[in-house]
Amino acid sequence: MAVAIAAARVWRQSRILGQAALLLLLRRPGARGLAISHPHRQQEQQFSSLDDKPQFPGASAEFIDKLEFIQPNVISGIPIYRVMDRQGQIINPSEDPHLPKEKVLKFYKSMTLLNTMDRILYESQRQGRISFYMTNYGEEGTHVGSAAALDNTDLVFGQYREAGVLMYRDYPLELFMAQCYGNVSDLGKGRQMPVHYGCKERHFVTISSPLATQIPQAVGAAYAAKRANANRVVICYFGEGAASEGDAHAGFNFAATLECPIIFFCRNNGYAISTPTSEQYRGDGIAARGPGYGILSIRVDGNDVFAVYNATKEARRRAVAENQPFLIEAMTYRIGHHSTSDDSSAYRSVDEVNYWDKQDHPISRLRHYLLSQGWWDEEQEKAWRKQSRKKVMEAFEQAERKPKPNPNLLFSDVYQEMPSQLRKQQESLARHLQTYGEHYPLEHFDK
């Protein structure tokens, strides 16, 4: 609430939206916990030709007789909520979530384990062991802070750079690796490129490569949750680049009009492969789009795991209670390359990357916090680095050794049942391999 008021004050000062905006931002819930939206209010008004008020069904606004274009305010945009400074010190004690030691240690260990796994798997692609990989360097705070604020059963729709959410939900290293290697243990049955994780048990919907397609899907899932009185929220992650897709616009608009309990979580990490934000949008980032849809919005420091946690926690509480969407734009920086197919030195300076790696990293910031609390020290740090590396290496070696799934799994799950024509194609491959099998890598595949 305090946050919304602060945001509203900024809006009022910049005279962008005025009173109506304040109402939008502080939309009060109706009798059923449903927000009362403007069009309904509009339609309840009595029509009178003596009144000089606008009667248009399309907007709830006053007349103005001065020609004035609304100035999009990009010089001083929506402020960035943070709890810790860059040295990990709490700035405003009333915003301190006062999380217990075990929980904060879990944050730290999740982020660092992810970081370790990223290093090893990135290397393994360089060595030709897996075909492709995407690291999460610099964005671990956005994953862990948000995941920690949700219920374990809240459904997650991700884009591809949210492995930390799964890590926080204790997805085993073995399964991360199995998917990247496409081996027999992969729950995805070897069908997708690496990092396209999915886990039904942990309520993490399988990743797909097309960007932003998950956004309207997440809204549909949230609608179903609302109908089921499930008291669940759906969270949908996407980058600032994906937010340019039509599907993003569709998702935001549907969530608002259909009153869905969903958190839209945008990781604004500065780049969409090589495209910087200055070429991605001209407005004030993604958070500024929220009010355009009638969505409560906030911008947070994505490298401050407590800020991410607080914002997500409050958004979750209200989204479920009030059946309305929330938009969180987490500002962060993509320290790594887009993927193993990218060399970002082609479009940004090493100095820029180093700044973020050395001076504003979510892991270091949390480590400073832990140290100042006396919950961590150098020895534990050394021991944990060794232990986490060992865990990752073990899982890695195991994943390497396992065979790939049986080639018959090429044909199943297209439909729930296999159509007869597809079965014929499966049989024709089997016959083909009987004669030409030597030209295929059958020795690596399960019999």
């Binding site: 069908r191 399988t206 397609t213 309207p216 899932a221 009185n229 549907f254 297209v414 439909y415």
Partner: protein, 422 residues
């Protein structure tokens, strides 16, 4: 032939005129007001708009499904949707303008009908329960028909994406795309997402409880953007099913099967049949199996394959062939475009040795090419003549030239005659 034509047109106008007042009250969308109105009671015959290029032939009253009622195509759709909402508490219907009843009246009455009654029984829905771990109860606290049949913003990619998301949780999503011509913004969601959801997740997730319904095909004056038959685009996409009914009885059974099928389905509804097709349809729910073509008339000399409205065209071609050429035709309604019933068509062509396939969609890359290619592979030595395709031309669907564009009975008859004389 002229007598049949004018009788049909009189019936068409009479039926349409009777419903006009009611229709006007209900119909909001400007363009749809133009549809299904009778040809202007014009003075000059030359300026009168064309009568329909087909005559709808109702099937005999079905006996095995209980009490029947006279329904036209849109009423049979409403009946199927009504049955679905009644027996599946997770089912929701959404799209543009569905709340007031839809631009083709397919959802009339449904929004107001499904208000849960107090003391509603508790439902235990396994998949739904899996995601949300709750029994669906106390629905009257949060639900009225308003949350089961509702309008969405004007955004097809959103409609389908939203529908996929509902289906991922296990609830039944019935999405409407107002015209098949407007399905293309949703092409990515259908082809890249819905069709591949189960496969790419290793069967961890699926959106099988999604059905997309959409008005389809020529209507006399629809032109480029209210006449399209896009089934061929989707035929190339493993993972979805595409179904097209020829009549009210077929539509209800096939639509119910699509809704209950555990795979995402697209159900195209021939819009020209919405009011023109009337027959006895069972009131209770029933299923017609998917991926099963129907031999609606047996014959010896040539196999005719079509779907949707075109089935009625080839039916007439078959009687013309019998009368003028003494040729006996076997007529097959394909019903499901993918996965299609190869065996039934093969079996028929092995018997007759001649195949003619007809559809409104353009010739090149149309679904007739898939059928033709497969049949020549499987039945090459049985063929007495090249397989014939009578389709729309490779142009966008024209307005004023529609009578010349469509694969009418004369073109089909002529192609059949050439095949017989090959």
């Amino acid at each position: 032939m002229a007598a049949v034509g004018s009788a049909a047109s009189w019936l068409f106008r009479l039926r349409a005129a009777g419903a006009e007042g009611h229709w006007r009250r209900l119909c909001g969308a400007g363009l749809a007001r133009g549809f299904l109105h009778p040809a202007a009671t014009g003075k000059d015959a030359a300026q009168r708009r064309q009568v329909a290029h087909f005559t709808f032939q109702p099937d005999p009253e079905p006996r095995e499904y209980g009490q029947t009622q006279k329904m036209n195509l849109f009423q049979s759709i409403t009946s199927a949707l009504d049955n679905s909402l009644a027996k599946d508490p997770t089912a929701v219907i959404f799209g543009e303008d569905v709340a007031f009843g839809g631009v083709f009246r397919c959802t009339v009455g449904l929004r107001d009908k499904y208000v849960p009654v107090k003391n509603h029984s508790t439902f235990y829905l396994y998949e739904f329960d899996y995601y949300f771990g709750v029994h669906v109860q106390n629905m009257e606290d949060s639900c009225t028909g308003k949350d089961r049949v509702f309008n969405t913003p004007l955004c097809e990619q959103g409609i389908v994406g939203f529908g996929i998301g509902i289906a991922v949780t296990g609830a039944t999503a019935i999405a409407e795309i107002q015209f098949a011509d407007y399905i293309f913004p949703a092409f990515d969601q259908i082809v890249n997402e819905a069709a591949k959801y189960r496969y790419r997740s290793g069967d961890l997730f699926n959106c099988g409880s999604l059905t997309i319904r959409s008005p389809w095909g020529c209507v006399g004056h629809g032109a480029l953007y209210h006449s399209q038959s896009p089934e061929a685009f989707f035929a190339h996409c493993p993972g979805i099913k595409v179904v097209i009914p020829r009549s009210p009885f077929q539509a209800k059974g096939l639509l119910l099967s699509c809704i209950e099928d555990k795979n995402p389905c697209i159900f195209f509804e021939p819009k020209i049949l919405y009011r023109a097709a009337v027959e006895q349809v069972p009131v209770e729910p029933y299923n017609i199996p998917l991926s099963q073509a129907e031999v609606i008339q047996e014959g010896r000399d040539v196999t005719l394959v079509a779907w949707g409205t075109q089935v009625h065209v080839i039916r007439e071609v078959a009687s013309m062939a019998k009368e003028k050429l003494g040729v006996s035709c076997e007529i097959i309604d394909l019903r499901t475009i993918i996965p299609w019933d190869v065996d039934t068509v093969c079996k028929s062509v092995i018997k007759t040795g001649r195949l003619l396939i007809s559809h409104e969609a353009p010739l090149t890359g149309g679904f007739a090419s898939e059928i033709s290619s497969t049949i020549q592979e499987e039945c090459f030595l049985n063929l007495e003549a090249p397989i014939s395709r009578v389709c729309g031309y490779d142009t966008p669907f024209p307005h004023i030239f529609e009578p010349f564009y469509i694969p009418d009975k004369w073109k089909c008859y002529d192609a059949l005659r050439k095949m017989i004389n090959y």
